[in-house]
């Protein structure tokens, strides 16, 4: 039995320890905002925060997470008021939207380490794939979110 805290709620999970966190979140707990895109830590659609760090949940086995604190897109804010979410809306970023939970979670963590990001910082650290190609607006939104967070 593994205990994890997801968005402030404790969950006891009894499942094969090699199961990736992604499927525990989606299928067991029912939080489907975190998406499955590749299963090999390449695309970032499944990005959540584990103990405050952005991680690709498709490649984190639940067996190593006993006691971990997890934040998913659903827990980021109750009303889409997180500065990164606001910036996303203001820049009209999402197209199909499927990658965007992951993009947002990656950005939230990134801005903690890089409060004044350069484009080079963004390029090197936000490596999530967006198949719809929203990068132009994504980049603008990351800068806007950084500004909002300072305000």
């Amino acid at each position: 039995m593994i205990t994890i805290d997801v968005n402030g709620t404790q969950h006891q999970v009894d499942i094969e320890p090699d199961t990736p966190l992604l499927w525990v979140l989606r299928d067991v707990i029912g939080l489907t905002g975190t998406k499955f895109g590749c299963g090999i830590a390449e695309c970032g659609a499944c990005t959540v925060h584990i103990n405050g760090r952005a991680m690709r949940s498709c490649s984190v086995p639940i067996g190593v997470l006993d006691g971990a604190t997890i934040l998913t897109i659903e827990g980021l804010s109750s009303d889409a008021s997180h500065p990164v979410q606001k910036a996303w809306v203001a820049e009209d970023v999402p197209q199909c939207g499927y990658c965007q939970s992951g993009q947002i979670m990656a950005t939230v963590a990134f801005l903690k380490d890089f409060p004044n990001p350069t484009d080079a910082d963004i390029n090197a650290n936000i490596t999530n794939i967006c198949r719809c190609g929203t990068y132009e607006r994504l980049r603008r939104a990351i800068h806007r979110a950084a500004d909002l967070m300072k305000a």
């Binding site: 029912g30 998406k35 998913t72 009209d92 939207g97 190609g133 980049r139």
Partner: protein
């Protein structure tokens, strides 16, 4: 809730209530879900007014009490529900189409909510929604007149209802901002108060619709209505569907397309907890498990099915390359266009001639949301949650697969996590229905990324050969093109293409607007066992690369600037010239960029929209190519939502750039090799150029598409820039297969 509803109710996540649902409750809600994806524009954080209405989606047996008609419902508090009969997969038509309705309806946009129209209702109500597909960048073009009419009729009925109530002539009443007013008496009444009376009114004649010059709303940039749902995890995709008692299926399909299942030994699953059943299909085997998809996938991994693969099992890409090359260079082909006398022009004395062969590989769609479908089969009723680009067609196919009448089938369209042409064929849905029938429980089938990539219906492989001639003054006198390419229509069994000419195979080639007196275009269709289908921009995805590179070759041979060279051949097409001029003006064309940098130009028309692009690139001494900037100009005639249009141009460029730089699906032993994003890489932020979109709209009768044209010229623009910088002509994609080191 359980995947069947996208609402914006105050941001609270109620998906976890799924288990609390009784089945009966679910079925009722599920039925409504056919039209249950509702997006409230009024709920946008940036909009001042909050929307509180809960739309009553159509319940499958009766119309909503607030329905004006199948398209529009207006509730007493004025909220306007517009039903959207296409598929939102990121291309923005869920915003653009209601904008068209609102233009005529004269309603307050902040009170508009949008929900998916029900394909089942369309079946029951005499095909009321018509074609529900989102393909070929046609949603706006092919819905506009109808949706203007829908909005105008509703408006006139609301006016008629008010006029009747006030007992004044309708002609004295005006509708604006969701209010009907009578100037003479100063009376005003909200739409909400008129709706039930308006619903009873039949107009003697349909009102006229606005001509584009009278638009007041269309053409004004609007934020997309679906964006707020896509920043907090609330947007529901098919893969997010959760039903009571639902089980999960993973599937192994014959690795060689067209092969069949020979045998599979189930013994390894004995004693494995949670395994429900192994289901054998003709060309696949599925494992169904409880609790998580992961469990099904891990169960499946233990099975090692044997397949009948036939002769296709010994084919490979080298062989295909040769076959397409041969077909492009020799043998016979159907003639799609023949102006003048190409042969004599090519052999005329004094003519300078060029020949080239361009080649492109198979490409996968790789939508971000892998193929998946959830099916609830109840004997006399079938509910399917699937991301589809054609919900009406999905319904027909589902009915056939299940052996039901169309009115017994409910397709619950969801947000689609990328389509690009892949999701107009719902192979996953057919499988899921077969599995559901075998196990008699609600089941969610998910394809892994590897399944999705290897069992795609690919963009066809092609070889395109060119011959060109220039006279002594460098003026083009002949252009000969032959494309050898897979037939999409044959592969999809839509059409045998008996005359040998497939429209998408020759699009952009046969109808190229360059005035070259002797022009001949030929088409050689040739299929392998690899299934092919529509892939964002379809024929343009290879043809634009080929023809715009060859035109660049001709310009170079003529010693002319590529812009001037093209412009001189476009006398009959002021719209093309406007696009060219606009992109050139905004890109500082011709300016020196310094060492290691260069520009390239290309232009193409795709789905009625002309797009010109200038690519600016840098190549390092080690040969690393970076596309720094794409300047783009587009003419679609008119545009409904300029913001959404620009986003589609940007997205199209990135999609095409991924293909140009990395896109390649190769075949070995009959099996597509690439399976995931490590072997089929994508452009990410680090490779994404700056993209500047400029409008060069020419209005008139033209309504071009938005979803696909943006990427058409990208590969050629980049390759032409590579040539300008290095003198190296890229004649096959992807670019990553070419060594650019030491050439800059």
């Amino acid at each position: 809730m359980s995947g069947h509803r996208n609402t914006v109710q105050a941001g609270k996540s109620n998906r976890q209530d799924a288990v609390a649902f009784t089945r009966r409750h679910f079925i009722i809600a599920g039925a409504t879900a056919a039209g249950g994806l509702a997006v409230g524009i009024g709920m946008l954080p940036r909009a001042a007014k909050a929307l509180t209405v809960a739309a009553k989606p159509w319940d499958g047996n009766a119309s909503s009490p607030y329905d004006l008609d199948a398209w529009i419902a207006i509730e007493p508090d004025d909220s306007v529900l517009i039903r959207y009969a296409r598929s939102e997969m990121g291309q923005g038509s869920m915003t653009a189409l209601p904008m068209i309705v609102a233009e005529e309806l004269q309603c307050d946009w902040s009170k508009v909510r949008v929900e998916y129209a029900s394909p089942n209702r369309s079946v029951r109500e005499n095909n009321v929604y018509g074609d529900m597909s989102s393909v070929g960048s046609h949603s706006v073009r092919d819905s506009r007149i109808k949706l203007q009419q829908v909005g105008a009729s509703a408006r006139e009925r609301l006016i008629a209802a008010a006029a009747a109530q006030w007992n004044v002539p309708a002609s004295e009443c005006k509708a604006a901002d969701s209010v009907v007013s009578h100037a003479a008496s100063g009376r005003r009444i909200n739409y909400g108060a008129l709706a039930s009376a308006a619903a009873q009114i039949k107009l003697a004649a349909e009102p006229a619709i606005k001509a584009p010059e009278h638009y007041t709303f269309i053409g004004k940039p609007q934020p997309r209505v679906d964006v707020p749902l896509k920043v907090n995890g609330a947007a529901q995709y098919a893969i997010d569907t959760r039903l009571p008692d639902m089980v999960y299926a993973a599937i192994a399909q014959c690795p060689v397309p067209g092969g069949t299942l020979a045998s599979v030994d189930e013994a390894p699953l004995k004693n494995m907890p949670g395994i429900v059943q192994v289901v054998r299909l003709k060309d696949a085997v599925a494992v169904v498990a409880t609790d998580t998809f992961w469990r099904a996938k891990q169960g499946l991994a233990r099975l090692h099915p044997e397949w009948n693969v036939g002769a296709a099992g010994s084919t490979d890409s080298a062989q295909f390359v040769k076959e397409y090359r041969d077909a492009a260079l020799s043998g016979t082909a159907a003639v799609a266009r023949n102006d003048g006398d190409v042969d004599s022009a090519l052999s005329a004395s004094g003519a300078k001639t060029l020949t080239s062969l361009y080649e492109v590989p198979y490409l996968a769609h790789a939508t971000m949301e892998p193929m998946n479908a959830t099916v609830h089969w109840q004997g006399d009723r079938l509910d399917v949650w699937v991301g589809t680009q054609a919900a009406d067609r999905a319904l027909k196919v589902a009915a056939e697969t299940a052996g039901l009448k169309p009115e017994q089938v409910y397709i619950h369209n969801t947000f689609v996590g990328g389509g690009f042409g892949r999701k107009s064929r719902n192979d996953e849905m057919v499988q899921a229905i077969e599995i559901a029938k075998a196990i008699n429980r609600p089941v969610k089938l998910v394809w892994t990324r590897e399944d999705d990539m290897r069992h795609d219906r690919f963009r066809p492989q092609a070889a395109i050969s060119f011959k060109g001639a220039l006279d002594a003054n460098g003026r083009p006198t002949a252009l000969y093109i032959r494309t050898a390419v897979g037939s999409i229509l044959r592969s999809l069994r839509i059409n045998k293409v008996e005359n040998g000419i497939e429209p998408m195979a020759i699009e952009g080639l046969a109808n190229n607007p360059y005035q070259i007196a002797n022009t001949k275009v030929e088409c050689a269709l040739k299929n392998t066992h690899i299934p092919v289908a529509f892939w964002r921009s379809v024929g343009a995805s290879q043809n634009a690369f080929a023809i715009e590179s060859f035109i660049d070759e001709m310009a170079h041979a003529a010693g002319r600037d590529p812009y001037q060279f093209r412009r001189a051949m476009l006398g009959s097409r002021p719209d093309w010239i406007k696009v060219l001029d606009t992109v050139v003006e905004n890109s500082n064309w011709g300016r020196s960029l310094g060492p290691g940098r260069a520009q390239g130009l290309a232009i193409h028309e795709c789905y009625g929209t002309i797009v010109g692009e200038v690519a600016e690139i840098t190549i390092s001494p080690q040969g690393a190519l970076k596309v720094d900037r794409i300047t783009l100009a587009a003419d679609s005639g008119h545009v409904v939502n300029p913001l959404g249009f620009a986003e589609q141009m940007e997205g199209g460029v990135i999609f095409a750039l991924t293909a140009a730089l990395y896109g390649k699906v190769t075949v070995k032993n009959g099996v597509p090799e690439q399976g995931n994003f490590d072997t089929y890489p994508m452009v990410r932020l680090a490779q994404a150029p700056k993209i500047d979109v400029h409008f060069a709209m020419t209005g008139g009768k033209k309504w071009g598409g938005a979803g696909e044209p943006g990427g058409a010229p990208t590969a050629a623009a980049v390759c032409n820039a590579i040539f300008a910088l290095t003198g190296k002509r890229i004649r096959s994609l992807p670019i990553m297969d070419h060594d650019l080191s030491g050439s800059a």
